[in-house]
């Protein structure tokens, strides 16, 4: 071959556009100034956007429990949409390779890990993931990864009858057990599944026809066609890496632990034992996170993901199902790893699916997570006060008291509230712009819905009209985006999705069918595309498109986020409650108001949670004390035509502050800033 040919051969790759993928061993980016400035947007990757048809394995759009085809490339392609909405941080569903299916459901959500070191091929490959994160960073967006340390997928079965195969039994007649001689004999209906047997504190026991036979062996299965093979990496494919005690049952039957019918205290020993050591329902096998090898593997694997994709934080699943000591070990390791690679402010917030502040606060102590998913707020405010009739808005203020402590009870019932959430910064933990550490109490991650609960619109009474529902949704969003902490939006809220509990709340954002609603036409119910008033002519004549950016809720969220970004008080200001009610029916019925106070500015937010009548910040002849100086003119950021002046008297004003008589219509909200 002549030399020229050789040259041509050597140049071929260069001429044809050969590219070099990112170096995953390089330094990590340092992206976050202050997590309180961020607005998180939770994405279920499979349901957000399909950008790469080449990874559409086993996609079935009509089945809500199947993969729908969304992927990291699709998310990357839609960053502009999210930028337009204003969110600053993506929280993406788990990325690791999963067991493909289980009991007719697929692992589109990503929570059924099989290999902690491999990406889920349904969503793309490692390069696609890194490309997404790099693209997000290039737009100033951060990316948080959802991780699970508590369990893996349904990797093994308990061979209760020791026949070497997974069995499911239904036994008995399902009737009442009647003593012999007192009627027709019958037996209870018993269902036993070796995939997911009930909790046994001594470990799942085996039984043969002759009686008990010791611990039931944990038998890993080999079904490569659905990737149900022993989990990786080592030792996750070893039986001793699991607690092997069977499924948590206390949720269905609290009396198992001797709990009263209305539930246990969070620290009830029996319930905690089940939660920590039991398998997660669905046969998701509970890792023995006390074992040092298991801990080391989990830490190594998830640290590797930080390096691989340059993630900015973790959302940690099933926090309360892992013993507290684990978090004091795991979280510092992650912080150190990130810091050594040049990433400060690596943020970890955990999910303890529980409305009890005692429990949530317990995870904020020590050196564990930087924050928790604020479930108590979710239940109190979003599922409680906002959907209620406006009574006792003091419960919202109490929520704040339980987090940060209050000397007196906002509901006037005599209690003092010790702070249940730690305000002590973690070592190497997240800081504010000033470099000072931020304690978990300052960083609760607030949400109005998520992938585990139905959407807010779903829980609104069917009798409410669409404008009424929208008004309450907008109130909820206004609250979410003006309280302290870190707000998190669940994808699709900007499109007014209204799905019920899992999997109905995991709509396919790009699928036009997700924008249908039943309409009564020609004597029949028919599915028709939703519409809205896009041009302000009073007619709902604009067709609701997938990824619609003109609808009223997208518009409202973008407006609220822009407001939060523009005003440091709304991001970092102290939360000071100015008004709440302990009863109902007064002239201040349904009112709640709070200030966000920052050294540079302050903002006042007021909501009327009442559904029928206007309310005013006046009770017993006293108006609302505010931190704004008397004479200050406040303007509603959502309605600049509305202004109100702060009076010098009428209340017990705080030092330097004044008094404000503010009237709000039913379902109204005002965000007031000094003009």
């Amino acid at each position: 071959m002549k030399p020229r040919m050789l040259w041509a051969l050597a140049l071929l790759p260069a001429l044809s556009g050969c590219v070099t993928p990112p170096d995953l061993d390089g330094p990590l980016s340092d992206n976050v100034t202050d997590w309180r400035d961020e607005i998180i947007y939770q994405v279920m990757t499979d349901r957000f956007a399909n950008g790469d048809a080449s990874n559409d394995f086993g996609v079935n759009l009509a089945d809500p429990s199947d993969y729908h085809g969304g992927d990291w490339r699709g998310l990357q392609d839609r960053l502009g949409y999210l930028e337009q909405l204003g969110v600053t941080c993506l929280w993406i569903s788990p990325v690791v390779k999963n067991v493909e299916e289980d009991a007719g459901f697929s692992s589109y959500h990503g929570y059924w890990a099989q290999d902690l070191d491999r990406p889920n091929p349904h969503f793309g490959d490692l390069s696609a993931l890194r490309e997404l994160v790099d693209a997000a960073h290039a737009r100033g967006m951060k990316v948080v990864l959802d991780i699970v340390t508590n369990h893996v997928g349904q990797a093994f079965f308990y061979d209760i009858n020791k026949n070497g195969q997974p069995d499911e039994f239904l036994m008995g007649q399902g009737g009442e057990i009647v003593p012999i001689g007192q009627g027709e004999p019958s037996s209870d209906l018993v269902r036993v599944t070796e995939w997911d047997p009930d909790f046994d504190r001594d470990g799942v026991q085996s039984w043969t026809s002759l009686g008990p036979s010791g611990l039931a062996p944990a038998v890993f299965v080999h079904q490569p066609e659905i990737n149900r093979v022993p989990p990786e990496p080592w030792p996750l494919g070893e039986a001793w890496a699991y607690n092997q005690k069977g499924r948590v049952t206390v949720w269905q039957d609290p009396e198992v632990c001797g709990c009263p019918a209305w539930g246990c205290a969070w620290d009830d020993a029996c319930r905690r034992e089940q939660e920590v050591l039991g398998d997660f329902p669905g046969g998701l096998k509970d890792l023995d996170t006390r074992h040092p090898y298991v801990r080391a593997t989990l830490a190594d694997s998830f640290a590797r993901w930080i390096a691989r994709a340059d993630f900015d934080g973790f959302r940690i699943d099933t926090l309360k199902h892992v013993e507290l000591g684990f978090w004091d070990d795991f979280c510092p390791r992650m912080r150190r790893f990130a810091l050594e690679r040049g990433k400060r402010n690596f943020f970890m917030f955990g999910e303890a699916f529980d409305g009890d502040d005692n429990l949530l606060g317990s995870y904020t102590q020590g050196q564990g997570v930087d924050s928790v998913f604020y479930f108590s707020q979710y239940y109190t405010v979003f599922r409680g006060a906002l959907l209620g009739d406006g009574a006792r808005t003091c419960e919202i203020e109490r929520l704040h008291c339980r987090r940060l402590g209050c000397a007196s009870d906002p509901c006037g019932e005599g209690q003092a509230f010790p702070a249940l959430y730690s305000d002590t910064p973690k070592e190497n933990g997240v800081t504010g712009e000033d470099g000072l550490g931020l304690g978990p109490a300052r960083l609760p991650v607030s949400f109005e819905s998520n992938h585990d609960v139905g959407r807010l619109l779903f829980f609104m009474p069917p009798a409410w009209t669409e404008p009424e529902k929208r008004a309450v949704l907008h109130q909820a969003l206004a609250y979410l985006l003006t309280v302290d902490g870190v707000p998190a939006l669940y994808y699709g809220v900007e499109q007014e999705f209204s799905g019920g509990n899992d999997p109905a709340n995991r709509e396919t954002l790009w699928d036009a069918d997700a924008y249908l609603r039943p309409v009564w036409k020609d004597g029949h119910w028919k599915a028709a595309r939703r519409t809205y008033d896009g041009d302000g002519d009073g007619e709902d004549d604009t067709l609701w498109e997938p990824f619609d950016t003109g609808n009223p809720t997208f518009h409202r969220i973008a407006e609220l986020i822009a407001l939060r970004k523009a005003h440091v008080a709304l991001r970092r200001g102290e939360l000071v409650f100015r008004w709440s009610t302990a009863g109902s029916g007064g002239e201040d019925h349904g009112l709640v108001a709070y200030e966000r106070v920052h050294p540079d500015e302050r903002a006042l937010v007021a909501l009327n949670l009442g559904k029928e009548l206007p309310s005013v910040t006046r009770a017993g002849g006293q108006t609302m004390p505010v931190g704004f100086a008397p004479g200050a003119v406040l303007e509603d950021a959502l309605d600049p035509a509305f202004t109100v002046s702060v009076a010098a008297s009428g209340c017990a004003a705080p030092s330097g502050g004044g008094c404000l008589e503010l009237e709000l219509p039913a379902r109204g909200v005002r965000i007031l800033l000094a003009r």
Partner: protein, 471 residues
Amino acid sequence: MVSGRAWLCLLPLILAAPGPARAEEPAAGAADGEAGLLAEILEAFQFGSYGRVPFGSDLDGGTGRPVKVIAHPPRLLETPYAEVDLGYRHTVPSTGTSFLTQVTVALGERLFHFNGDFAADIAIRNLYLEVRDLLVPGLSLWAGSRMYRGDDIYLLDFWPLDEQNTVGGGLAYAFGETRLGLHFGVNRLSDSYQTQTVLVPGQETGTREVLFMDRQRSVVSLRGEHHFDLAESLRLKAVLYGEVHTLAAGTYLTADQREERLPSDHGWLLGAELSLYGDGPSNHANLYLRYGQGLAIYDELGVPYGLDREKKASGAREVMLGAAVNREFGDTAGVMFGGYARYFVDADPNVYDRDDAWELGLALRPAWYITRHVHLDGELNLQYLRPNGLSPGADSLEAPLVVQLGLMPTVSLGRGGYARPQLRLIYAVSLLTDAALHTYAAEDPLRGRGVQHYLGVSVEWWFHSSRYGER
């Protein structure tokens, strides 16, 4: 006419007397004129074959397997394969026109005597009729199912330009040193990319099948070839080649009974070949260049992968440079070379994509002709793949490299790199980098073997083979 069964009965006679034969007597009752016409037709049966049967050991109790990290790896280690060509030619001397009916049966790698399965993988590779010298000398016409091929890179078992497996037809016209060929073919693969059959309720009871999706792929190829004299014993063949592929739109019925519209697609490919030959019976040096986009760069018998959001291949592209050389040095020695470099980018939007890669395959096979029938061949080859994406196992860019060394004492019909039949004793050692080992599944025992040995025997033959354009 001779029916299919009839000529099978006549086969022993035909094989015994392979020269031109008179047509059989006309059927009783045929008109005298027809009898006269038939009487002047010359007929010839032609039997041909290509085949290879290797067997061997990895020196560890196993069978030894070919190593493949690129699309067209060197063929030092192969699996069994054979073709049986049956042709029958009718020639009308008065017009000079001949009719060739060609049937080629191919057998895949399963051998009953090896695996004990009394079965074989059989495919029909040729089933066509070609009419030559129709109306004017040099004009030919064909139709049917056909392997339609140009020149190959033997050491890589790779046809860099025209390699159609087609059901269609074509025209060719050869005049002087020029030959032009036009082909049109179609396929509709039995996969869910092109075909879908669904069950629907029967008109009264039961079910019946409906061919719901029926997307046919069409391929048009055009080839022009001209031969030049460069010197007294050196000639140059220049080839220009092009293909256009189109795929019809279709509708696929998903599991949930939704209709998913699959768009139409297309692609094209342009190629050129320069071939020096003439200074010896089998000496040649061929250089190939090919560039293609879209559907045309995917094997017509495969389902395109890495498609774009609309499930089209339109963004895919490929550039390939290849070479095939054979040089004989008198009766003493010869050397053969084959190689290609190829850059491929699929249509999906991923930039750092493991499917996107450039690859290199090189093979050099020197031969020493100790006697006419006893040769000693050696081979040095390599495979190199450089993907654009990260390796999922190593979190880094991994570029698999495989180097093979082979030594082949060979018994051959004669001297020369293309002399066949051959019986070879093969020893080969394959050296694999870690990146190459990572292409094996984690559970594959070969993943741990960076050095792989092979000792085996292989036979290979071809004669009158349609595979190599001999008829």
